[in-house]
Amino acid sequence: MTEVQTPADPVQAFISETVGANPVVLFMKGVPEQPRCGFSALVVQILDHMGVDFVGIDVLQDDDIRQGIKTYSDWPTVPQLYVKGEFIGGSDIVREMFQAGELKPLFAEQGLLPD
C-alpha cells in the first residue's frame, strides 16, 4: 500500500502544507506582481480580476519545487491552481472555467470572493 497523504519527501510535504494552509495557491513562473510566463500571467490576471486573494509560489526560485509540483498532482506543467487544497487545473482549464462562468461559483462557495 502506498500512502500519499503524508509524503515523506520534504518537497512534497512543503507543497502539501502550502496548499493546505492557504485557501488559494498558484504555483507559477515569476511572482504575481511580475509573472515570467504568459500562461502564469493569464491566471494571475483572472484571479486579480475576480478579486481573489492568493499565494503565488515562484517555481523558478526552486528547481525541487518546479519538479516536485509536477508529480504532486501528476500534472506536467506550470501554472497550477489549488483551491482549498484541491487541484483545479492549469491555465487552459482556469481560462475555460472563467469563460464558462464556473470559476466564480467555485470561489463563492468557499467564501473567497470579495463582497
Binding site: 510566463c37 504568459g38 506543467t77 492549469g90 487552459d92 482549464i93
Partner: protein, 105 residues
C-alpha cells in the same frame, strides 16, 4: 533499412512540422477525434525563457474533439491528452495549450 525515403524529405515539407505531425498522429490514434487542430504557436514565444532560439517547435495549441472525452471532467481530459503526449512534453514541447471537448459541446 535500405528503403530509399529521401524523396519525402526534399519535397516541400521542411524540418519544421515534425513535432506537429507526431502530435497529430498520436492524438488521432488515441482518440479517433471528429475534429483535430494542431497549431504551432512557437513564433509567438521566440526569445523568452524555454523557447530556445525561436526556430524550434516548442509551443503548440491543440483543439481535439472526441467522443472519448464524453463524461470526463476538464482535468481528466487534459490528463488523457498529456499522457498520450508524455514523450513530447518531456522533450521538445515546452508548452501545450489544450482544448479538449466532446462532440456537441
Amino acid at each position: 533499412m535500405s528503403v530509399k525515403s529521401y524523396g519525402s524529405r526534399i519535397d516541400g515539407a521542411s524540418e519544421m512540422g515534425v513535432v506537429a505531425d507526431t502530435i497529430r498522429d498520436k492524438l488521432t490514434a488515441a482518440f479517433a477525434p471528429v475534429e483535430l487542430a494542431v497549431t504551432d504557436e512557437s513564433w509567438r514565444h521566440a526569445g523568452h525563457a524555454g523557447a530556445g532560439d525561436g526556430s524550434g517547435e516548442t509551443h503548440f495549441d491543440v483543439r481535439v474533439v472526441s467522443a472519448a472525452f464524453t463524461g470526463l471532467g476538464r482535468v481528466a481530459r487534459q490528463r488523457a491528452v498529456n499522457e498520450v503526449l508524455r514523450v513530447e512534453l518531456a522533450g521538445p514541447v515546452h508548452a501545450l495549450s489544450i482544448k479538449a471537448a466532446a462532440p456537441g459541446e
